[in-house]
């Protein structure tokens, strides 16, 4: 059961994390500040 | 001036360079000797185990040895400034690729023959029954390694950390060469028939990457 939850949790964290990162970069660029990588 | 004559000129020049200076070939030969000698000490001495592992080991050794040679494919051009001249050749620059890759094929086949000899001396591999298939695999393998290797070497010349980059770029793409060549060699050594499918896929692989190299080299040389 722990394995099952871990698998779904990892997937969620990775995808949501990447989406957030993209969102932050996009927001910064739209504001005009150069993106810091 | 036709494309084929350009290819031949590049091919001849590279081979001449290889045979006159003996740098590249010599270094590859010594490297292979060193590695095989080390292997023969480290690998278990039982005959059956050596027979089982030899095909794979052979091709891993060849992979690393050819890396040495491929990395220097364009050394003479970059050092001598001849790269700019090559770029200006009024022909489809894919022919330059064919010439270069061809020279690399010859060098690689030479290394393969040498390494095969080393394996029979150091690791008791008996090529008598298997040499035809092994040679075929060797030829196809050399074509595969040379085509991708020449292409990627040309690209990595202009990039930082190329001793690291070239193997990282090359190895995943030439896995099929390793597997096909060692499978064919292994089957031949074990006196089992080699399925025609393996030869077919191997030939297809070579055709794909020689063609791609030819088609794409034009863009690569514009650096």
């Amino acid at each position: 059961m722990a394995y099952l939850l871990a698998a779904y949790a990892v997937t969620a964290v990775v995808l949501v994390g990447y989406a957030l990162r993209l969102g932050r970069a996009r927001a910064a660029l739209l504001r005009g500040t150069p993106r810091r990588s | 001036m036709s494309g084929a004559s350009v290819a031949r000129a590049v091919f001849a020049k590279d081979l001449l360079l290889d045979f006159r200076t003996r740098d590249r070939l010599g270094h590859m030969a010594v490297f292979a000797l060193l590695v095989v000698a080390l292997l023969s000490i480290v690998v278990p001495a039982s005959r059956t185990e050596r027979l089982a592992w030899s095909p794979a080991l052979l091709w891993v050794v060849l992979l690393f040895t050819s890396l040495l040679g491929l990395a220097r494919s364009f050394q003479s051009e970059t050092e001598g400034g001849a790269l700019a001249l090559l770029v200006q050749a009024p022909v489809d620059r894919g022919w330059v690729f064919l010439g270069k890759a061809g020279a690399n094929v010859v060098a690689l086949v030479g290394v393969e023959l040498w390494t095969g000899l080393l394996f029979s001396v150091f690791l008791d591999v008996d090529w008598s029954g298997a040499w035809r298939a092994a040679l075929g695999a060797g030829l196809l393998g050399a074509l595969g390694l040379a085509s991708l290797g020449t292409l990627l070497s040309a690209m990595s010349v202009a990039v930082r950390f190329r001793e690291f980059l070239l193997p990282v770029l090359l190895f995943p793409l030439v896995l099929p060469v390793l597997v096909l060549a060692s499978s064919i060699t292994g089957a031949a050594l074990a006196e089992r028939p080699v399925p025609a499918l393996w030869w077919g896929v191997f030939a297809l692989y070579d055709w794909v990457f020689v063609s791609l190299g030819y088609l794409v080299f034009d863009y690569v040389l514009e650096d």
Partner: protein, 249 residues
């Protein structure tokens, strides 16, 4: 029926992404709709996983990892396809948008590929006892991952040089061309496999097939949305760079 739906969504998603790349700044608004669709699809998929899909007899509830592992397959391969298409497009037209397509395809693709390599072992450990199994699917995914990483490394190291985009376009093309051969080679080297044989051939119970299908569609939508956002960021970066260099002159 399920596979037709999945195929359709893949084709539509790929088409939309390429269309988007031709004029990303103007067309980026359409991503909102896709994002909403993705969320809806994810909700449906999760609901099916929890309530609709049966508990398998042999593996127990752990088998449900299947529904988060399989959907990642298509984005992994789609990423490569986009990278190759973008590479060809860039070499032929020299337009930035193709390169942005290639880069985004690779970046998002490597994420899904990494997910497969993480979730696969999480599934393997309770079922087969080992964290890693050298079977066909996992091994070839590993090689694919190496190709992705090599591509991204090349991009990173070549950055700034004029030829960087050309080189990565070339590598994207040869890298993708190598994939069928890699698959064949791994299969040849393996002989036998420990991986569950392709369920589509075995005849999966309908509920499992539909749940997996829902996951596939949902992940394709997520992939498409992420690629769209990534391309938008790339385009904005290019514009900001252009503005700064022009301002400095």
């Amino acid at each position: 029926m399920v596979s037709a739906l999945v195929t359709l969504s893949v084709v539509l998603a790929a088409g939309w992404i390429v269309w988007l790349s031709r004029d990303i700044e103007l067309r980026a608004g359409s991503a909102r709709g896709v994002g909403a669709a993705a969320l809806a699809a994810l909700a449906l998929w999760l609901g099916m996983v929890v309530f609709y899909a049966p508990i398998e007899q042999v593996q127990g509830i752990v088998q449900k990892i299947f529904y988060v592992h399989i959907p990642a397959i298509i984005p992994t391969y789609l990423g490569f396809l986009l990278t190759a298409v973008g590479g060809v497009g860039f070499l032929r037209t020299r337009r930035e948008s193709w390169d942005q397509l290639a880069q985004s395809g690779a970046e998002v693709g490597v994420i899904f590929c990494s997910l497969m390599l993480i979730v696969g072992p999480i599934w393997a450990k309770p079922v087969w006892g080992h964290w890693w199994v050298w079977d066909l699917r996992l091994t070839s995914t590993l090689i694919l991952w190496f190709i992705y990483v090599a591509y991204l490394l090349l991009r990173g190291l070549a950055f700034g040089s004029d030829a960087a985009k050309t080189f990565t376009s070339v590598y994207g093309i040869v890298g993708t061309a190598a994939i069928p051969f890699v698959y064949f080679a791994v299969d040849l080297a393996q002989g036998s496999t420990m991986h569950p044989s392709n369920p589509a051939r075995e005849g999966l119970p309908a509920e499992m097939g539909r749940t997996a299908g829902a996951g596939l569609v949902a992940f394709v939508l997520v992939f498409a949305w992420l690629v769209a956002r990534r391309m938008e960021v790339a385009a904005l970066e290019a514009r900001s760079l252009e503005a700064r260099t022009q301002g400095g002159l």
